[in-house]
Symmetry: C2
Subunit: 198 residues, 2 copies
């Protein structure tokens, strides 16, 4: 039986496999005629919304502990967000540019906004901080599915500094994880410097 | 006449318009048979390489001033990198995961590695820092092509904090630019804290 949950999950699989989402491809993946899909969704925008619901629900963003210090709470949020998108990298370009009109997304942003305002950030700083953090997370999700060795075939004679730093860089999946941790901590340190008591 | 430059430029147009790159679609865009393409390139990997050459060349990364203080030089590099990808957001998911084996890319990373080592960063820190910065840039390129108002239809009663911060958030293209600037500065501030004299 077709239901909205199954449609969202199948749409995630389609973008992971094909890089794009089309109604005919989604209908094929579900084994139904395109017209059958329209009994459940009004169109592409609603399908993207279902994909987002499936992704967000999967990471349990709702039951996160927002009572921790702002930087710890934000780090935990960022990590669950990354895990969700790293599992469905094909959805990154699609969801990155689709407006967030869903009440369940608003509920999540309400928590983040309250967290950052309570920490002392100015109202005008909050959304730019959240946007910047999200951009970093989405880019990192793509990095997570990149080859462990991204810079390859370097010649020591022509690129001695690059060779030296690559010798000290992991050549397995920890490369991307380590980059994410380092970048996240750096960004949170920088955010902290924007607070009035710094 | 088909040449490698034209193939790279056409491939960028195809991913921008269609979200994915296939050899038949590229051949159609160039008005040639797929077999004609193979006289110039060995396959998909080489086409991706040509796209990267076209992107990188366009931003004049080669003639950047690397003699400035590390954070200013890195900021300038990040901005030209962002401009290139924001002009071709469809290329982001493709290029983000394709290994960098091209000598012109190695030459660029050699400059960045030399810059950061001279600034005092440890060999093991350099590539993670560069990776993290690139993830932020690629995510920001997607944000640049997002709608100006990303969080919409918020209800003040159910999301008062979110409503308050959105009231202070630009509703035009400056939203994404401002987020990028703030995130970039935060990240560079955080990087600076990793230096031994901090």
């Amino acid at each position: 039986m077709l239901d909205r949950r199954r449609i969202g999950a199948a749409a995630l699989r389609v973008v992971d496999e094909q890089g794009t989402l089309t109604i005919p491809a989604l209908a094929r993946a579900l084994g139904v005629a395109p017209s059958a899909l329209y009994h459940h969704v009004s169109g592409r925008d609603e399908i993207i919304s279902l994909m987002r619901e499936e992704l967000t629900g999967a990471t349990g963003g709702a039951d996160q502990d927002w009572s921790k210090p702002w930087d710890q709470a934000l780090e935990a949020w960022a990590r669950s967000y990354l895990a969700a998108f790293a599992a469905h990298p094909g959805a990154v370009p699609l969801l990155a540019v689709a407006p967030l009109a869903e009440p369940f997304m608003h509920a999540m942003y309400e928590k983040v906004a309250e967290l950052l305002l309570s920490a002392g950030f100015a109202e005008a700083q909050v959304m730019p901080l959240v946007n910047a953090l999200e951009s970093f997370i989405l880019g990192s999700a793509l990095d997570m599915v990149s080859p462990p060795v991204m810079v390859s075939d370097v010649t020591r004679e022509t690129a001695p500094h690059l060779s030296a730093v690559l010798d000290q860089t992991p050549t397995d999946h920890t490369r991307a994880e380590h980059s994410f941790t380092l970048g996240l901590r750096a960004m949170l340190t920088g955010f902290g410097h924007l607070l009035p008591d710094n």
